[in-house]
Structures are given as C-alpha cells and as structure tokens.
Symmetry: C2
Subunit: 351 residues, 2 copies
C-alpha cells in the first residue's frame, strides 16, 4: 500500500464525489499530481479493487469507492481544510439570526444552517434537559376544577400541562400543596424525577394526596417529556433532490426519525461517520451520516448530524460540523454560568 495508491484512491473518491460517474483510469492519469500513465493507474486500481476499496458497477465501467474505500479516505487520507475567518464569521451570523444565541433557537438555527450549508438533511438531538434540575414548580388555577402545573428547569426549559381534578381547591389547599411540591422538587435533577420518586412523594402526603393525583401525574408526564431527547430536523428536502437516494427509502426514514435517537445518543468523541448500510437502524441505501457531539460542563449533552448521500464532500462538511459543535458547546456553557435566562413558548389547547 504505497503512497501512490493512496493518492489514486483519493482521486477516485474525489472525482466520483464530484461527477457521480464511475471513474476511469484515463481520467485519473490526466489529473495533476498523479504523473503516471493510465496503464499504471489501471494496475494500481486493480490492486485497490482486490483490497476491497474500489469496485466496478460492471466490467467495462470505471471504478467507484466501496464503503471501506470511503472509510480509508476519510480516516487516513483526507485532510479537511481549516475554516477561514471570513467563513467563521458568516457561520456565526447564521447562528445569531433573529435573536440571541440561546436555547431552542440556537439549536434550530444550527440545524437550519447546517442543512443549508451542506445541502443535506441536518439533525440535532438535544438531551441536555435531562441533566438540568427543576428550578420551579407551580400549580395555577385555570378554570373550574382545572389546574395547570408548570415546570421550569435550570436549563431554561418550561413545560406546562392542564389537569382536571375532582374538586376545586381552596386557596389554602392550593398554596399548601404548591409549597409542598416546591420544597420537595425544586433542586431535584430531572433525571431523578422517576415514577417511584413521585409515588414516594405522594405516599408521604397521605390520603389527602388522593385528590391531587392528577396533578402529580401531570408533573410526572412533564418530566418524562423533559427526559426525552428532543430531535430537531431540517433540510429533508435535500434528501429528495438527491439523485443517489431512493425516494421511498427517504420517506420511510423521515417517518421514523425517532430511530435515529439511539445512534445519536451513542457516546464517542470527535466525529463519527456512519453509512446507511451499516448500522441496521439507519437504512437509506447510498447514504451516510456524520455525527458530532456538543457538551456542557464537560458532559456530552447533545449530537449534531448531517445526513446525505454517501457521495458527499466530507472534507467540506466535517469542518462545518466541528465548528458548529464547538460553537454550541461554547455558547451553552457560557450561559451556564449565568442563571437560566431565555425565551420560549409553550403551546396547547383544546378547541
């Protein structure tokens, strides 16, 4: 496996990514920086094929990289260029668009920007809420026998839910219960808000608690919500405009995004590249996904991914991904110092 063979493999990958057509020996030989004849290239390509890095769609066609070929290229050969300062600035602007760089909006913007820049689909999985603590619990009367429970976390997430009780509460009951909840839940980490814990809490209050059951249930549901990994998606359309991907597979994939969670949740550091055929659960033929992590307080609390054709300009995409994950890490940590600021909106209704 000499220098030249690697160079030829790289050339095949890059040409194939560029044109989408199988690459022939002549095309490679003509490339600057190769400097050997087509015949020599042919010999090397035959060897690269034997090693499993290239393949031919049919006998009289050029070569195409295999998954191993892409892997070798990505891990050992390619050297992604550093982002120029002008580009960094541009990216920062994309993140900051329409508001301060915080929370939901930050993630939303990052996803959109990634999709836009790479012309692929982008996905961000945010599981930071489950690492935050309850900073406020409140019960608010909202009509006859209807009460809204409100949960605010140190991360700035706000969730609410309306619950219906059997009776109306007196002001005294309400404030007593509210205080009780505050005392026992504020400061508790979202992760610890389990079914058992809430059951204990209820038990401690005794029979009186029975009437409050729907509220306790509501809080439990809210915390379950918080513990779920929020997925933000953008640029699905790019998958459809992509010739290499089967439209039906893309539809299937989009309808089952949740399955991505286990892939995104996987812990690793740096950048990881997965191929559609690989992972079992992520199955769009000829596709690949590049994943990176962002952190808060040293802990990995979310992932960003770019999903596109396997025939992707990795050297261009990876720096973007790295920059964004670093940037998000910086932004959310910086805020972490201050108390939870931030805007947000909850929705809901019964007509």
């Amino acid at each position: 496996m000499n220098e030249r063979k690697l160079k030829i493999l790289a050339a095949v990958v890059e040409e194939y990514v560029r044109t989408g057509e199988p690459v022939g020996s002549k095309a490679i030989a003509n490339l600057p920086g190769i400097g050997v004849s087509a015949a020599t290239v042919r010999n090397d390509m035959a060897m690269l094929e034997q090693l499993g890095f290239l393949e031919q769609p049919h006998t009289s066609a050029g070569r195409v990289p295999t998954i191993s070929g892409y892997r070798l290229y990505i891990e050992k050969i390619m050297t992604p260029p550093a982002l120029p300062d002008s580009e960094r600035e541009r990216l920062d602007n994309m993140l900051a668009e329409q508001g301060p760089m915080t929370g939901e909006l930050l993630i939303q913007n990052a996803t959109t920007a990634l999709a836009e820049l790479t012309q692929c689909a982008a996905v961000v999985s945010d599981f930071s809420p489950k690492f935050s603590v309850i900073s406020k619990v409140e019960v608010i009367p909202a009509g006859k026998r209807v009460y809204v429970v409100l949960l605010i976390t140190s991360g700035g997430a706000i969730k609410n839910k309306a619950c219906r009780l059997e009776f109306d509460l007196t002001n005294e009951q309400l404030s007593m219960f509210s205080d009780y909840l505050a005392k026992h839940l504020e400061g508790v980490s979202v992760e610890e808000l389990s079914e058992e814990r809430m059951a204990d809490l209820a038990a401690a209050m005794g029979a009186y608690m029975m009437t409050m059951a729907p509220l306790v249930q509501g809080i439990l549901e809210l915390s379950r919500d918080l513990q779920q990994h929020a997925l933000t998606f953008s640029g699905e359309k790019n998958l459809f405009s992509c010739e290499d991907l089967d439209k039906m597979e893309v539809v299937r994939f989009i309808e089952h995004k949740e399955e991505l969670i286990k892939l995104l949740d996987d812990s690793f550091s740096g950048i990881r590249v997965l191929f559609g055929e690989d992972g079992g659960s992520f199955v769009i033929g000829n596709s690949s996904m590049i994943v990176s992590k962002y952190r808060k307080g040293g802990k990995s609390v979310g992932s960003l991914g770019v999903i596109g054709p396997m025939r992707l300009d990795y050297a261009k995409v990876i720096p973007y991904l790295e920059y964004f994950s670093q940037k998000i890490t910086d932004l959310i940590s910086e805020e972490g110092e201050e108390p939870p600021p931030e805007e947000q909106t909850g929705e809901q209704g019964k007509g």
Copy 2:
C-alpha cells in the same frame, strides 16, 4: 346533455379512478347499466370531449376526465353513500383513541384518522384560539431577572414565554403588576390583544412601566402566537406513494404548507373541492384538495382538508370528511358549555 351522456361521464371518471388508465369506449359499453354499443359510446364521448369534460392523452388512447369533468361529476352526478352505523362507530373510536376527545388531541387524532382512511395527506387548520378570551395571565419568577409570563385562554390553550428584565422585582412589585395585568386582560378576547391595546395598557401604567417592557412584549408575542392558525398535518407519506404526483412537487408543497392557510381560511360552507392547477398557491399537478369546515358557536373556527391525487374516490372521501367536521363541531361545542377543561403541554427551553 342527456341522461346517458352523464352516465357515460360518470363511468369514465369511476373507471379512470379505479384503474388509472385512459378509458376506452368498449370498456364503457361492457359496463352494466350502459346498454348501448361501443360505437354509441364513442359518439357520446366525442361530444363530451367537445364540451371539455373529457380529453385524450393521444389519438389512439381512451379518454380521461378533465378538471371540468371531475367538477361536473362531483357536483352534479355523484351521490356519496351515507356512512353505515358500523363505520361511524369505527370512526368514533379512531377519534377517541388514547384519551378524551378534546383539544389538540382531538384534532391530532382526526388528522391521523383522515389520512389513514383516505390514504391521502390530511390537514386541519385550527383558528379557534383567536376567538377565545384570556382567562388567566400570570407572571412567575424563574431565576435571576428572569420571569415567565403565562397565558391561558377560555379555549384551553396555554402559552408561556420567559422574559429577562433589567432588574429583579420585589414581591410587592410582582403581585402589583400581576394584578394589574389580570384586571385589564382577563376576559379580553385574544383577537383584541393588539399592539395598540398593549401600548395603551403600558401607557396607563406610566414611566414605571418601562422596566416591565419585556413582559408586555412577551404577552404580545404570545397573543400573536394564539392568533395564528395552527396547522396539523398527517399522512405526507401517502403523497409520496402516489404514482400520479410528482415527488419534487410534493416536497416543495410540504415545505410550504403555510401557504395552505389562505386556502383553508377562505369562508364557505359545506364541502369544497380544489384542484392543484387551480388555486395558484396550491400547486401539485394532478392533485386535488377537498376542504370542509367545523364550527363552534355557529362560527366557523377551523377547516379540515384531504389532499390527494385528482384521481381520487371522491364518493368515498367526502362522507368521511363530512362526518369528521360534524363530529368535531359537536365535540368542541359540547365542551364549550363547560368551562375550559383540558390537558395540554407547552414546550420550550434554552439549552
């Protein structure tokens, strides 16, 4: 335009919907209930073509209905069968799935059920929130200089937003401001919560108000949210599995759903059928959309639509749509009597 010609037009539409192939004179003549020869059918079809109700893809092919042909068929010829009781029961179950039939969930279920039953995409536009009144405004401290404003409407919608102030409020200030808001906003209809009204409110409080500006701004944003028509979509995938529709057009459409709002918002009664080529803003070739309204207190407060290929079994779909819009009308009015009950969840966060 005699009886027989109408019968033949109906036969062409139905056969075409069934098979997707242009329909020839012989096929029609063989159909039960026609009872004339192929030659006669040919003469009639030639006339129907002259009138613009049928067309030929090419000289030696059968006939296909034009948009006018579909229109005539839908409006004058077809008689949709009434839903049998067993079917009504089945639909009711689909609506009731996983919970009481109220609010968001009701609409969510209706959309899913419609998409499922018709194998098309379904969309529901809900603009009822803007016709409800504010039943509760609350300001809740949520961290250093951070306050959450919470808005609850008579319709059961709950919205919240975190705002950052320049200073922390004393308890006294907080309750004073809270009371002031409650006094002036509770009972006000969402529709009336305009920029000017809020400005007046602020002005009345005087200079002291300056510090509260972000909170007032927050309330304004929440009310704007409420005034927007919520769109619920389901069954996009069915559009992709549909041979007649261009995948790229479908993608474009899905990415610009909001444009549907103006079509859905249009006021009319009963059922309306639009064709993709028609409306200008709704442009998937060979597609059609069937729209119906639901009401509350006699006022139209939302629309349901089914979007599919033009080659659609209208006689089957329309009864479903009618039933669902009636059912939703019944359910939300019935609850309307009672005070706003109901569950719901708001989301939000900054990482």
